[in-house]
Amino acid sequence: MSKAKQALEKLGKELAAKILAKQVPVIDIPIRALSNVQYNKKTETLELGNKKSERNFFHVAHAKKFLQTLEVAAVSKELLEEGKHASLRDMFYMVKRTIPNTKINIVDDQIESDSALEDLEVVTNFSREQLNINANKMGSVAGHVIVEDKGDEINWAKMGSGGWSIPSNVEEIIFKKVNAKYVIYMEKAAVWERLHEDKFWEKNNCIIMSSQGQATRGIRRLLQRLSNEHHLPIYVLADFDPWGFYIYSVLKYGSINLAHMSESMTLASARFLGIVAEDIENYGLKKHLITIKDVDVKRIKQLQEYEWFKNHKGWQNQFKKMLAFKAKAEIQALSSRGISFISEKYLPEKIKKGEYLD
């Protein structure tokens, strides 16, 4: 019997015992909010604090959430027993129904079942992947790597133009052969396609990986495993704007919603390769900037205050310069120097010179 299933049963048995003893059924759930998240300087990760909130069935405001959490747990237990996996959307429909004699639906929106599942993760200390719930597949990878997934051998170098699409659960993957000097994770799928077409990974003996925007849990876990198990440096390639910086921040230090899983997600060794302020001068991108908006300025000011950036001279310098330029730049701005400028000149040069922020 899997440990995840045991944890779910333990939760159920404890609650049932309380009820039979005529004690108020309460689930204690660590609070997942800004007020209960701290930055640990030692491990350089965001960590969940000790604050807990009660979910009491006999409380008007809690009763529904209490029920939602139980429903999600029951569905998950069933999946584990049958050895099947469901998507978040599946979970929503498996939980959704109308309570007899009322007009109340147990869940009205997928956000509610997603949130109940995140609660279940913090209560049981098992990730949703371990509870047999998968997020949408997103992201591609290519490189000289051979892995085994559910008995199939997969060669990341021979996946055609689309690359291997990264599953949401990468726990069971076994690395058979890893032949690479480093990994580049990029914010833009279009940039990944450029590098793939240019055979960048082959020429430079590395792994290229991307998704659209924020890295999914599967990607973050895969990057962590490559870093931990094969000691590969991880480079991040993102836009020169607050959102690009934040993608890096989440990869390296973790995020509030998943603070309880920081341990298995964060990448202390991640390096920010570009685009940085210096690139704009060095590579003549000045004519290809985009003016920043008020919302960008606000976001930069928030980033400046984050504990992990606050005393980081390199990053404070980037923020200041962006505010001084009053402009941001996309990775694709490099294409103004030629379509393959990024793969032939920019990246090899930056990596050779060791120009990155960490």
């Binding site: 779910l8 049963e9 159920g12 049932a16 909010a33 007020s35 029920l67 139980l70 029951a74 995020s255």
Partner: protein, 544 residues
């Protein structure tokens, strides 16, 4: 163009009889349209019947019958068990305008002016040409007088068309009046039906038997055998008279000196007070009232205002009483909560008055529309000109939200509620002769508002309690519906039998109804904190 001389014009100048005047200005008396005419005729006859019964200390039993003769023609028949009227007075009372017993005295009766019933006779005569038929019997052993009367409009004098003296079987005493008139019968807020229903509310000692034009009979039985105390007559209070009236009073008084005049014609004036008034007016107490000129009268008028005079006695007015008013309301309005209040007597312009208020909330009343207002003056329902009435304006200017009713600023509140307001006074100030709306005296408005607030507080307490009980029930309902779900799911998760879990949770719920309430309060703080956190996440401080 031919010029006319003053002499020629003078040929057309002549007296106008009061009857002729009202013939042309019937709207002043409430006969403006056929529908209202029907109501006014019934109202005048019923008001007179009630006044007469109360004065004679008889428990009133009044029958009202409307018969439709033609499309727009009705016969109005009202019969009472009052003392009857002696033969000599019948023509004057029914067929002479401004003839009556109530105009010259101050007492809390329904009628005041001596116009009402004769105006109804006049209206019938104008629209159908027919006389009114009157039957009067004053004692069981006497025969009844049967008369057919018309009004000579030029001279304002009664005209007797037929007369007969014969027995009235099965009747001890009383009056019966039949008038044929043009009219229109409609139900609704300003109908005869409504008037009688409301009359029954404020006259719980009265039985009314009503037969409408569709021949349906409604009986409003009396709720109490107790007659209201007889209205006492009082003399005017010095503060209440105007200059013109003061001069008139001095002209007709039998008193020989000014001091005597003040002491005999007014209430609350004793020798000391009379001397003080004279002093304040710079007049001699032994002056002859008839010799006082207009200028001196004005001096006297001002002197009265300067003198401190005790408020008039209040035993001359008899309010319905909070309890009886509430009983009356209960009978006619189906509500779930009632409350009522009778204010202490107060005075405006030297006239004592009492305001009473009753409320009925909930039940079958519509909760989406404006509240219903029932207005009464000296036990008479006021059905017209609601918007111009001091009662209505006082309700509008009271803040009802704190009493549990919805209200937008300055308008009538909304909710399933009926408000009854009643004013008793020796002289009720109306805005017009047709007695439809109360005039706006600050002293009266103040009392109305106090009555409304006193009742409002009781209502507010009830509504709030109801809300609390409702909310708690709702909470219990939530848990009752959730329990089977939780039990089933938890059973899947833990392997414990569903039935056991359900039974345990149900017994906890039963025991913990108070606990649920208390828990809610204790956790209010925590709830707000949680909300703040949720907000933070929504604001995108961190996203993924």
């Amino acid at each position: 163009m031919v010029q006319k001389t003053a002499e020629e014009l003078a040929q057309k100048q002549r007296d106008i009889s009061i009857a002729e005047f009202f013939e042309k200005n019937r709207h002043l008396l409430g006969f403006d349209n056929p529908r209202k005419a029907l109501l006014t005729a019934v109202k005048e006859a019923v008001d007179n019947a009630l006044d007469a019964c109360e004065e004679a200390r008889i428990l009133p039993e009044i029958s009202v019958e409307l018969i439709q003769l033609e499309e727009t023609r009705f016969r109005v028949i009202i019969e009472d068990n009052g003392p009857g009227i002696i033969r000599k007075q019948i023509p004057n009372i029914f067929a002479k305008l401004l003839y009556g017993s109530k105009f010259h005295k101050l007492s809390a009766t329904r009628g005041q002016q001596g116009i009402g019933i004769s105006a109804a006779v006049l209206y019938g005569q104008l629209t159908t040409g027919k006389p009114a038929a009157i039957v009067s019997k004053t004692a069981p052993d006497k025969p009844a007088n049967f008369l057919k009367l018309k009004i000579d409009t030029q001279q304002n004098k009664p005209q007797i068309l037929e007369e007969e003296e014969k027995p009235w079987d099965g009747k001890d005493h009383g009056i019966r009046i039949e008038i044929d008139m043009e009219g229109s019968y409609l139900k609704g807020r300003q109908s005869v039906d409504e008037y009688l229903k409301e009359t029954a509310i404020v006259n719980p000692h009265t039985t009314i038997i009503y037969t409408n034009p569709e021949a349906q009979q409604t009986i409003f039985p009396r709720a109490t055998e107790k007659l209201p105390p007889e209205p006492k007559e009082i003399k005017p209070h010095p503060y209440g008279v105007e200059l013109g009236r003061l001069m008139k009073m001095m002209e007709i008084t039998e008193a020989r000196t000014l001091q005597q005049f003040l002491m005999t014609e007014f209430v609350r004036v004793f020798p000391g007070t009379a001397k003080e008034i004279c002093q304040n007016s710079a007049l001699l107490p032994n002056m002859k009232p008839k010799e006082i000129s207009r200028d001196l009268a004005e001096q006297l008028f001002k002197g009265i205002q300067k003198t401190k005079i005790r408020a008039p006695p209040i035993d001359c007015i008899s309010p319905i009483g909070a309890e009886l008013l509430e009983q009356g309301l209960r009978k006619e309005i189906n509500a779930e909560f009632y409350c009522s209040v009778t204010r202490p007597a107060s005075v405006y312009r030297g006239n004592p008055f009492v305001i009473e208020c009753a409320m009925g909330y909930g039940g079958e009343q519509d909760s989406e529309s404006v509240i219903r207002i029932l207005r009464f003056a000296n036990r008479v329902p006021l059905l017209y000109q609601q918007g111009a009435c001091a009662f209505t304006n006082s309700i509008q200017n009271t803040v009802w939200r704190s009493y549990g009713l919805q209200q937008s600023r300055g308008s009538l509140p909304v909710g399933p509620c009926t408000i009854v307001l009643h004013m008793t006074s020796v002289w009720v100030p109306f805005t017009s002769e047709s007695k439809e709306a109360l005039a706006h005296y600050p002293e009266i408005i103040k009392e109305i508002k106090l009555a409304l607030q006193e009742c409002g507080r009781k209502l507010g307490m009830y509504i709030n309690k109801k809300k609390r009980v409702g909310e708690q029930q709702q909470r219990v309902n939530i848990f009752e519906n959730y329990i089977p779900e939780v039990a089933e799911t938890l059973s899947k998760l833990s392997g414990v039998e569903k039935e056991k879990l359900t039974a345990a949770l149900v017994s906890m719920l039963a025991k913990n109804k108070e606990y649920i309430e208390a828990y809610k309060v204790a956790h209010e703080v925590q709830k707000t904190e949680e909300k703040n956190k949720e907000k933070q996440i929504e604001l995108g401080e961190f996203d993924e």
